[in-house]
Subunit: 560 residues, 2 copies
Amino acid sequence: MKIIIAQQNYHIGNFESNTRKIIDAIHSAKSKNADLIVFSEMCICGYPARDFLDFNDFINKCYESINTIKEYADGIAIIVGAPDRNPAKEGKDLFNAAFFLDEKEIKHIAHKTCLPNYDVFDEYRYFEPAYNWNVVEFKGSKIALTVCEDIWNLGDNPLYRICPMDILMQQHPDLMINISASPFDYTHIEDRKSIIKANVLKYKLPLIYCNAVGSQTEIVFDGASLVFDKDANLCCQLSQFKEETKEINIDTNGGIDENIIEPAISLPDQQLVPLHFVADLNISQVYEAIILGIKDYFSKMKFSKAIIGSSGGIDSAVTLVLACEALGAENVRAILMPSEFSTSHSINDAERLSKKLNNPYDIISIKNIYNQFIKELEPIFENRPFSLAEENLQSRTRGNLLMAIANKFGYILLNTSNKSELSTGYGTLYGDMAGGLGVIGDCYKTQVYELAKFINSAKEIIPENIISKAPSAELRPEQKDSDSLPEYDILDRILYQYIERVKGPNEIKQQGFDASLVDKVLRLVNINEYKRNQFCPIIRVSPKAFGVGRRVPIVGSYLE
Amino acid sequence: MKIIIAQQNYHIGNFESNTRKIIDAIHSAKSKNADLIVFSEMCICGYPARDFLDFNDFINKCYESINTIKEYADGIAIIVGAPDRNPAKEGKDLFNAAFFLDEKEIKHIAHKTCLPNYDVFDEYRYFEPAYNWNVVEFKGSKIALTVCEDIWNLGDNPLYRICPMDILMQQHPDLMINISASPFDYTHIEDRKSIIKANVLKYKLPLIYCNAVGSQTEIVFDGASLVFDKDANLCCQLSQFKEETKEINIDTNGGIDENIIEPAISLPDQQLVPLHFVADLNISQVYEAIILGIKDYFSKMKFSKAIIGSSGGIDSAVTLVLACEALGAENVRAILMPSEFSTSHSINDAERLSKKLNNPYDIISIKNIYNQFIKELEPIFENRPFSLAEENLQSRTRGNLLMAIANKFGYILLNTSNKSELSTGYGTLYGDMAGGLGVIGDCYKTQVYELAKFINSAKEIIPENIISKAPSAELRPEQKDSDSLPEYDILDRILYQYIERVKGPNEIKQQGFDASLVDKVLRLVNINEYKRNQFCPIIRVSPKAFGVGRRVPIVGSYLE
């Protein structure tokens, strides 16, 4: 059987574009005499469509697309993912479904059983879990067709009571096909490969795994679709972070006519990779994920040009490099906004960076505007000493200038805050926290340094001085980050335990960190939730990013 | 049996304060020789604790509180709500539970069966539904103890497969007790009363319903705890929006020694009240809900003073009145910030309002700061015509001034945006969209007028001119809202259908609205999701507020 895996990038709610893309791939598959073409989970409407799924009109549009596409199912069968209405009087209105189209008909619909409802996932908000299971018979083969998380339960996943593959095995399938929308994080690709392999080892069937690719605001789907033969040899892995179409042939014994990439023996069996900090970070994947995140945010929002406040510090430098790579240097305008507290090296470093990148830049001093603010505020401030108010005022004056230029010319402001700052509230709302997309907001400061080193690995792009100097917000004379925060290599390790590993204060202290430091750091994280709540979407690269995947009360005093 | 209903206001994660409050009520109940005291759902840790529930340390603290409280269960039984660990290997780690404490022991734990996972609720994210059900035997009575949503399924609610009361009835209970954390919206109190009464009519048992009170960031719990006798007469309704403790006596026949407030016959049976726009709006309840929302945000965040940009328009006028009522006029500072486009009546109206309210106010012109911005931007803007950039710059200059004064003196900026503006994106990010709490962000413009009329119903507080003049942002000469937006009475009706009623474009057009206007309005709502995503929490008074209860993609093109 000749099967095409279509790993594509969809636009949520853009039925016209998604349908056209799917049909184009079907045309191409037909020209190769393929028997079956497989698309990813929710390809019809894009994933996650969230509360758009609550609109009847939206679900109607999904069916209209399927009806359009099924007319092309002649001489080829097609698997697409879409919501399917639940005809029963009880339960949620929808299923998360895989539609099997053949002979211009919907021949089979497989509903998803294991519905993720953690981190960024809200599938119980919309979907009813499957309650019946059948293989699809096609050209003498029986296909066990499942959706994403369905194969993350091998009967031992505490999150789910039902193991759909165990049930489907009673009907003696010959082949497993899973359609997914499984997002990237720097731990997830190895976990994913292991769990898919574990299915093959358990059920002794070949498995075709078609994943979505593309970024949806904050969530990056990385593709990397996989094919295992029945002996659990990895035969095929599609590109990560790119669209790709791949043809494979499966023989009647479950063999696959591809060279084995990784023999069964070389992969750890059924064992999920533990998470570690930094050491396990595949920095080139993080880099690629962020590039895709920027690209797709702009293309799907129909934007093309970005603006960035360039301070001469490492965060804005890394953000600027990533933006230039994603959008083209000519489309990224840097604005250098020195104040009376800026050191001369900052402006020099920022200029040198933009000269290297060859992106347009301008210099606007904030001094006169800031002084005018202070003058108008004088009757109210009277003679109170310089404080956080004046520091924030500088930051917000910069935010104002950036937004004014953005509004005038149609730029999107990219935010340069890192995860260490966002965690501890070391940033100014409406100032350096302004922007439409958080580029490095899921990278701790130590990880931003890793990114900088990676960027400079072939040749120096970021001036060495930007990497080597001590971090400073430069909002008062001689200011250093370390005046307010612990050293980043300690801070980031505590934050990682609290945020990514969900360890509480007692558990973190037991790991040997200083107790009062742990209390201080965790308190900072908690009391600054109100700031993060107003922050823009962050490109997610870790297993726990701020934003939709982490939901904590603003008015809550735990750990304060 | 003498039962005390303790309708209290909890602080999420503040175990010390919650536990003390609970123990104080137990002491008082003992002095009245009560047999049983009933607290609301999740009283131990506050509701909704959200992802704090993922922390082992947090759950440990819950058990510590319960262990402390159970020592007081001598001579009195106590019902408290808290998370309970799931000992099973499968399913979520926790149950949402009611603990029955007696003789210094945990005598019984009832788990919640019907877990809401829509709008602001995420209970499937944390909790496993109950899988066994037993009545509590106490002093010769059998109590059917349930948690909140459990009594919202009478066997016919499509959201839930299991009706826990149907199962408990097999054990012949004498009394129903339900502990809740059921939030306010302007439709919900009637729905709630109807569904509780429907339980009494179906099961022919008296029902004690103890609801939480108090605001948790955006969600306002309104209390209004209820007692029905077995004949479905409403015998008791506790205050709305206030803490209250109420003693009731139930005799062995299910009779209750209270005067009947509403006899069974007067309430609609099992019929949920349909939602209508404005007509059904109980404006005094909305007013009270917002007051409580402001009060609790400040007290739980340990803030006391607010700052508001006062423009002379109706939105800031209503917000200012609400804030003065909630916090005391002396704690609310109004800042009037005229520009060259401000009309003289605006500043006069704003001054007159603050003189009536007797709250402190200051006037700062933004003209010089704005001109300085424009001067510095001149080399970049060159001679491009006045545009949205300059309008937004004025708004952001005001935001900057407000935040600077807030930072200097420790004020919290209250936001004055209404729901019509937030829906259509008719506001400036970091400008008039700045602030820590959205006071009237869940009220459409037409509802803001209703609030103004309500405020002025006894005597004129808001100057009549503020109510009668045409709305304007005053960011360019002669600007009117109606230049950019449809008239509010039409706009708000379309928005209500789309947002509260979740009707799609075709459905709304079928109601008779102009098709191109519907498309225009819905497109505005969708393309402005990126702005609302960065907006502060909004005090929720409607069945569908922007914020945690409405989750739509930013990068999504549906209905554009």
